[in-house]
């Protein structure tokens, strides 16, 4: 087993991986950009190395600096998290060359997964159903136009190098293609350092169902059942759950076996996800392999009882899978809500700034994977994900109730977040009935305005503010603190309190 691991990431996923390492006695090295000095992952790790300025391209995507940090700190392995370099085959190859273990698939499998066109060919050859799409890559934008006409509009633009909605665009007619391609390429470049995009037939109103797969270095492969991630906005997943309401045991078995076959024919090892689209008639199509730990991995952990990060590390260190397919089962229901720094009342614009106050939910069945704290800064440079709230309960309805309760208990002041929006997603009758497709948000919550605020609640807010001002005034004159046992911010200062006291 490794003695020290470098985590080439930031935010909640870096913290998640650092904690997993600490549990099994592995020292951790965080890397950080200049604006991230006070980030939680820097505080949580045993060691922390600054790798450059704020823009990701100069820090979290800077392979040489990261490799150098790993060497300097004697880290035997690098965990890339998700995003940034997680699916960068060149980085995986560089690690291999530098004798640093890359905690992820081998670079050949990673390259194949990243090359969406070639991987589609491999999958198709193996007899697995795929979505009609481009057969090759082109430099010239006019070739994309030809391909789009061949496939038939509407088509989807996707980044070759990664997922997460970055670079994705739906194009319904030829005249929209060029600007959409340009925007998609810029986003792909900015997110993954690679501007390659490709086209695929756009399937309307599908469900997004994916299978978590684990493969050790000795050809043993298991799947850990599905996750349904149909609730998306801008092709970005925002709510994920397992089990999917659309799968029966037979379909689950069939898709699970195919997911394993995908791993097999692509020579894959470590943790990966095989994504499918499931149409209304329960036909499913291979979409792509996500060659990394997914944002939504916790729902699988809560229902199967495995720790995917621990397993990634043990597989990378050369251990065999500790269980067979027969030993795995799903229990209960888990839902994840992604907490983004976005303003749902204002077209989901990113919301950077200072988190003035933060209180996280807790309680039975509630898990919170989190990268922020009261007083932290949310910089403009990186992904707007702040945290993930995951609940487990005996069944889906109880999980929904638990999620609503936890979201109500979740307070972030100072920046805008998606928390209130998420409550209305989970509370929506269509969601409660399990009628979830990728069009859910657009069909049901477009132009979301939030709940009406009653006169009574407005008064309460005014009352709280008045009380706050009242104590400010009293404390200024130095009487209130002595007079009554109020808990004013000034009292925190103890004997150094300034002013009249």
């Amino acid at each position: 087993m490794f003695k020290k691991i470098l985590i080439a990431n930031r935010g909640e996923i870096a913290v998640r991986i650092i904690k997993a390492c600490q549990e099994i006695g592995i020292r951790t090295v965080a890397v950080y950009s200049e604006v991230d000095r006070k980030s939680l992952h820097v505080q949580t790790a045993d060691e922390a190395v600054c790798i450059g300025p704020a823009p990701a391209i100069e820090s979290y995507l800077n392979m040489d600096r990261i490799i150098q940090a790993a060497h300097d700190k004697d880290a035997e392995a690098v965990h890339p998290g998700y995003g940034f370099l997680a699916e960068n085959a060149e980085f995986a190859r560089l690690c291999e060359r530098e004798k640093i273990v890359f905690i992820g698939p081998n670079s050949r499998a990673l390259k194949l997964a990243g090359d969406k066109v070639r991987s589609r060919q491999t999958i198709e050859k193996a007899g697995i159903p795929i979505i009609p799409g481009m057969k090759g890559f082109y430099k010239d934008i006019s070739n994309y136009d030809d391909e789009a006409r061949r496939i038939g509009y509407p088509v989807m633009i996707k980044a070759s190098a990664g997922g997460g909605g970055k670079g994705m665009r739906i194009v319904s007619s030829a005249k929209e293609l060029k600007p959409a391609l340009e925007a998609g390429m810029r986003e792909a470049k900015s997110a993954f350092g690679n501007e390659s995009v490709y086209l695929e037939k756009y399937i309307e109103e599908p469900r997004h169902v994916e299978f978590q797969v684990l493969a050790d270095n000795y050809g043993n492969i298991v799947h850990l059942f599905e996750r349904e991630c149909s609730i998306q906005r801008r092709h970005q997943k925002i709510v994920e759950e397992t089990p999917s309401q659309a799968l029966d045991p037979e379909l689950r078995l069939k898709m699970g076996e195919i997911a394993k076959k995908v791993m097999q024919v692509t020579g894959y090892n470590n943790a990966g996800t095989v994504e499918f689209l499931l149409d209304k008639d329960k036909n499913f199509y291979f979409l792509e392999v996500n060659a990394r730990l997914q944002v939504e991995h916790p729902v699988t952990e809560l229902t199967t009882g495995v720790d995917l990060v621990h397993l990634q590390i043990s597989i990378a260190s050369g251990e065999k899978l500790p269980f067979t397919q027969d030993e795995l089962e799903q229990k209960g229901h888990a839902i994840e809500c992604r907490i983004y720094a976005e303003d749902p009342l204002n077209n989901f614009l990113p919301s950077s700034g200072k988190v003035l106050f933060f209180k996280e939910p807790r309680g039975p069945g509630v898990r919170h994977d989190c990268g922020i704290y009261s007083g932290c800064d949310v910089p403009i440079f990186y992904d707007p994900i702040l945290a993930k709230l995951i609940v487990w309960a005996e069944d889906r309805e109880k999980a929904c109730q638990r999620m609503i309760n936890a979201l109500n208990d979740y307070v972030i002041l100072g920046i805008k977040t998606t928390i209130d929006f998420l409550k209305d997603v989970i509370n929506h009758p269509q969601f409660r009935q399990g009628e979830t497709t990728t069009g859910f948000i657009k069909n049901n919550l477009d132009g979301w305005k939030g709940k009406e605020k009653s006169k009574e609640k407005q008064s309460l807010a005014a009352l709280a503010a008045a009380f706050d001002s009242f104590n400010k005034t009293y404390t200024r004159t130095g009487t209130a603190a002595e007079k009554k046992e109020i808990y004013s911010p000034w009292l925190m200062l103890g004997k150094w309190r300034l002013g009249g006291g």
Binding site: L345, S352, D383, P384, A464, A466
Partner: protein, 169 residues
Amino acid sequence: MEFEFLIENVLQKISLEEKKNLFIVSDGETTFDADIHYVSPNIISILIGDCSYQVYLARDKENRYVYLEGHHFIVQEPSVEGEGYKSGEEKSQEDILMVKAPMPGKVIKINVSEKEEVRKNQTLAIVEAMKMENEIKSSIEGYVKKIFVSEGDLVDSEKPLIELEPKIS
């Protein structure tokens, strides 16, 4: 003691008088007793007729941010200068003509040049933040009067990007 606040652009008047361990609260319409305490610097516990409210409150230079019973409020003191809190819908004529950065970010593309004629909903510029591109669109038919930024600039929220001139029809 009297207080006035702007909450969602509505002026709220409220008075508090301390009496033993309680406050007598009057909001203009009704008067009631409230048992109010800080439980920590950002949490206020209020009991009104045995109903318990947990109120979260934080402050920055301009605003108080309040969360209670599932609702967020931005509370301003009326004397505070500058922009009120506006939702996307409530833009003044001035806001329409002066196109501002909707959030802090980086200008990655300017799609128009000065004097150019623009259609309604035409993309004027693209600002990127947190790795998502946001297209800044014209909400009128008109002309580009002035461009204040260049591609690559980092801009703060409310920074003027482009000034438009309406088409007189």
